[in-house]
Amino acid sequence: MKQILKSCTALTLSLAFCTQVIAQEALKELGKGEGELSIVAWAGYIERGDTDKAYDWVSSFEKETGCKVSVKTAATSDEMVALMNEGGFDLVTASGDASLRLVAGKRVQPINTNLIPSWKNVDKRLQEAPWYTVKGVHYGVPYVWGPNVLMYNTEVFKDKPPKSWNVVFEEMNLPDGKSNKGRIQAYDGPIHIADAANYLMFHKPELGIKSPYELNEDQYKAALDVLRGQRKLAGRYWHDAMIQVDDFKNEGVVASGSWPFQVNLLKSEKQPVASEFPEEGTTGWADTTMLHAESSHPNCAYMWMEHSLSAKVQGDVSAWFGANPSVGAACKGNELLTDEGCATNGYNDFDKIKFWRTPVSKCESQSECVPYHRWVSDYIGVIGGR
């Protein structure tokens, strides 16, 4: 028995060593396409017209480059990290709470932006973004981004749209005279702690929070206290966008942090909802197309990155997903997105958004921060009523 245990440990150890990769250099020049490309992406990010004929940005790429695209969809950032750790994929559309983990784990390689002609068109606000640029080295190209907005019921709030996130954090009477207790929702992911920190950053400056993703023990404790108050108000936490849509329709939920995707969907169904950028600012997600460290089709991958930055693709994806393009030109003249699309999805509110990042213990703004895995276990505790 002891022998088996020992050999098992040895096996696990050797596996752990095998997956270590030496720091890599970016590609120097492009060759011919390898004929294949596999991408890990959010559902709806890589469409080839299967769902709706008008939304297709894969077929033309395949025709031009001869790279056959296969897509593996993932539902959470963590699933993406897991898939990339497994290997066998070329690209991933990683959100900010996954991208740095991938860089730290050496699962992705640096990108030579000189090989991507459209790089110069990328929104200046995104070119050096910290969620994919480490020490001046780019580990990918921006895809699309979006805010976590405050969605509310227009029949309840009438002509007084909520100006602050306090409607989801503190007990109060809403404009219809009834309490918000049991009528609000919050995101069922540890990253929601950042929303509470963002709220405190505005209302309790004495805590000295510089970034909602970099919290020391005291700031972290204060944020958890805000969330404990929220637990008493929230009936359920939303995990799946479609469940939130259903809860706004059938469960009497009237206010919640949300994505433009749900807002647009509910509006298209003629539900009385609208969204707001509260005074505290919001958190948000910005996704990056990243290249796997051991990608076997790097040339096709670079061609895709170039393709993904074209105004047409950027506009189409943004229209489909309720997101914002990383290329300014996409905001004008795109049939699917329309000229108002960018403003609706929050394109002009970039500065108010604090984009998702993975909390790490070795943080920039202070000596030591609370790392992500503690966010996970403590958020479970908060939802459980601790």
Partner: protein, 317 residues
């Protein structure tokens, strides 16, 4: 004389390669047994126990607070972590839910199974089987989403109770601490109702099987000897049907213990063991703690099966 010769010829013919092999096996029956058993044993040993062992092994490692990487050194700290307030809450919550769901399933299933085993005949019997099995045919997710709509605040149940002027009853129930909530679909009561609904067939069928095996003449004898129906039930029927109830309870108990989809869609977002494993493994990358969490149901089910075996549950499977 001639027949003997021909037999010898046949034996000689068979003594080729095949014959020698078969002779070998005949002389060494243990080798033959080992050869036949090896593939299934390897399957069980490597695929099943091996993966289980690898999992158990993970739970003795720990996660490094600083880097979030798994530290491959033997430690019991992960199990210590398992016993902190939050995680203990999750375990207690899941086990109590499993116990209550099992008890209620048994309570509801028994009369149904009794009717099916004793009174339903011919067409009715077929109809009954269909009725019990039918929910199992449709997708589990579809059923849960349907229940979400039924139990929602603005759902069918609320509508029905409003029509019947019984809404105060629901409100009174929902205002209770712990089991109440904003609406049925965000309360423990809702989670409980759906669990019972989904696992009920797994309770009815084994109870029915065990009831069908209770000889009718024993019950008749009991009443002939002057015992009341209650006494007959307590001293004759129930003890004989008990293995079926225990067998059914193994299903409902273990299924509730491991489920992570129902509490995610219906309920108050408070985690159950299955969800905790998913969150720790998938979200936090804390595989040691996830592994330690999976050990909990294994231990609980081990104890449960051991008790069930002593009550003769496996005779009714």
């Amino acid at each position: 004389m001639s027949t003997v010769t021909s037999q010898r010829v046949m034996l000689a013919k068979e003594a080729g390669l095949v014959g020698r092999i078969s002779d070998f096996f005949w002389k060494h029956p243990h080798v033959f047994l080992a050869l036949m058993l090896a593939p299934p044993l390897l399957w069980l040993g490597i695929i099943y126990l091996g993966s289980l062992l690898a999992l158990l092994l993970q739970s003795f490692f720990s996660i490094d607070d600083y880097s979030g990487l798994v530290n491959y050194e033997f430690t019991l700290s992960t199990y210590g972590q398992l016993l902190n307030e939050t995680n203990l809450d999750i375990i207690i919550r899941t086990v109590s839910m499993a116990v209550i769901v099992t008890l209620f399933s048994a309570l509801i299933a028994f009369p149904i199974a009794y009717y099916a085993a004793r009174y339903a005949k011919g067409k009715w019997k077929a109809f009954f089987y269909l009725g019990v099995m039918l929910p199992l045919w449709s997708s589990y997710l579809v059923k849960i989403y349907a229940w979400k709509l039924i139990l929602a605040k603005e759902g069918i149940l609320t509508w029905l109770l409003t029509k019947l002027n019984l809404l105060w009853l629901l409100d009174a129930w929902l205002s209770l601490p712990v089991i109440g909530g904003n609406s049925l679909s965000v309360s423990y009561t809702g989670t409980f109702i759906v669990f019972v609904y989904v696992w009920l067939p797994f309770m009815i069928l084994p109870i029915q099987a065990s009831l069908e095996r209770v000889p009718v003449n024993l019950i008749e004898a009991s009443s002939d000897l002057g015992s009341t129906p209650q006494q007959t039930f307590r001293h004759v029927l129930l003890p004989l049907a008990l293995p079926g109830i225990v067998a059914g309870s193994i299903f409902t108990f273990s299924l509730t213990l491991g489920d992570y989809i129902i509490p995610q869609i219906i309920g108050s977002s408070r985690l159950f063991i299955g969800q905790a494993v998913y969150a720790q493994q998938g979200t936090a990358g804390n595989i040691p703690l996830a592994a330690a969490f999976t050990v909990v149901p294994i231990i609980i089910m081990g104890l449960y099966l051991w008790m069930a075996r002593r009550m003769g549950a496996f005779d009714a499977l």
